[in-house]
Symmetry: C2
Subunit: 246 residues, 2 copies
């Protein structure tokens, strides 16, 4: 099992790493070996057989190549028992994964609202505007939706998002909460009290033995300012401690 | 089978409609009946059992609710024989569908680069900049990638994107080509000669009996300026007819 992704960031590859780690799969994070990023090019240039990836991350299992983050994790989850087997629950898992992907995309756009071909410094004004609406409206809407899903899932006693047991989407929910806590610590601190089930899920995932070992290891790249989740203090307003009169 | 989506646009719901039409499934496009858009609310408000959709489009089949466009079409395709059965080819189909979804998202962002909460008129300058890089770089890259996939798929004699027969992603490729031809007619006219297999695929889909009947029917909403694909002449530069010296 080989994973191909940029070696210096968690980025979208991290959702794949978490599934591989939880499943206990032995894998090579290829661009972090001495083969480096150059090892990705033959796949992206169409010089390998199998499916043609448009971009990283992608995985190779034998002669099968799979790309697109949500597709990779769903594919791995089916192979390794990290998703229920019925079509309805599999579809429910994927709709949650794809909605988390939308949230991740919107989190990225807070620091690059004009697009990835300009520096952050060249779009700071627009970033501030976008971050404000993200933090006050979009982020609470997405996270509240995850909280609602947990509160409806009596099959797992509100412990997991889909079905009775943990699935790959629980790992992704953990990752998006971690990313948002890194990027918007103040906003997340304010929001957490309204998300008790989601925060408990986050802890439950972090405490799983294989995930806990991974998070302590050097395989877990720290969050940084090159990734999808970035911490710019000017985009994360400090909490207002004083009470407002109604 | 019920489809829930905004009644006045093709939008993301159109990818679902095309699958339902090609599969010959009898369905109700609920918001276009007298029940109207209000029929969507109980689902989005969590008042129905089953999976909780974050947004439209979503479908209801019995008690199963499925949302997220790529997830809906993959789910329907499995039920109705519109995708190969092997995990590798199913994953290849979904990676293409998700990449088409990314292209659709970037096409949308050309007219709303600052976000959907501002009018187009309030972001015209940024739209012009974004549209220029979309038309000159991103759109050719995505469409060239689809052309490459077709040229590699000898199993279908370069006629279809995945496996030997037509699948749901061929319908989506048709739709994105149609949308881009509506939004950027000049740019697409210039680009078409380099995309012979993709343009032939577009025609092949349009000529399928059920799709042809659908496109002629009133069920097919015309493209318009409220949808994802919008035609603003200022975002689609006219072709330069004169030859340039090398």
């Amino acid at each position: 099992m080989e994973l191909y992704y940029w070696p210096m960031i968690q980025g979208r590859g991290e959702f794949v790493r978490l599934v591989l780690e939880e499943a206990g799969v032995s894998y090579v994070d290829v661009a972090r070996t001495k083969r480096g990023m150059a090892a990705m090019s033959p796949f992206l240039d169409g010089k390998k057989r199998g499916a043609l990836p448009f971009a990283a991350p992608f995985i190779r299992v034998g002669t099968t190549i799979v790309s697109q983050t949500a597709n990779i994790v769903a594919f791995l989850a089916e192979r390794h028992g990290l998703v229920p087997r019925t079509p309805a629950l599999r579809a429910e898992a994927l709709q949650i994964q794809l909605t988390i992907a939308d949230l991740v995309g919107e989190a990225h756009d807070t620091h690059h609202p004009l697009g990835g071909d300009l520096y952050y410094e060249d779009q700071k004004k627009e970033a501030k505007r976008r971050a404000k609406s993200f933090v006050s409206e979009r982020m609470p809407k997405y996270l509240g939706w995850l909280e609602d899903i947990l509160s409806r899932n009596t099959a797992s006693r509100k412990q997991w998002l889909v079905g009775a047991r943990r699935s790959y989407v629980d790992l992704s929910a953990f990752q998006v909460v971690e990313g948002l806590r890194y990027a918007f610590p103040h906003a997340m601190e304010r929001r957490a009290p309204r998300l008790p089930l989601l925060m408990a899920l986050r802890d439950r995932v972090a405490e799983r033995p294989r995930i806990a070992a991974y998070l302590r290891s050097e395989r877990r790249i720290p969050f940084n300012q090159m990734g999808i989740f970035r911490h710019y203090p000017e985009l994360d307003a400090k909490p207002q401690r004083r009470r407002r009169a109604r």
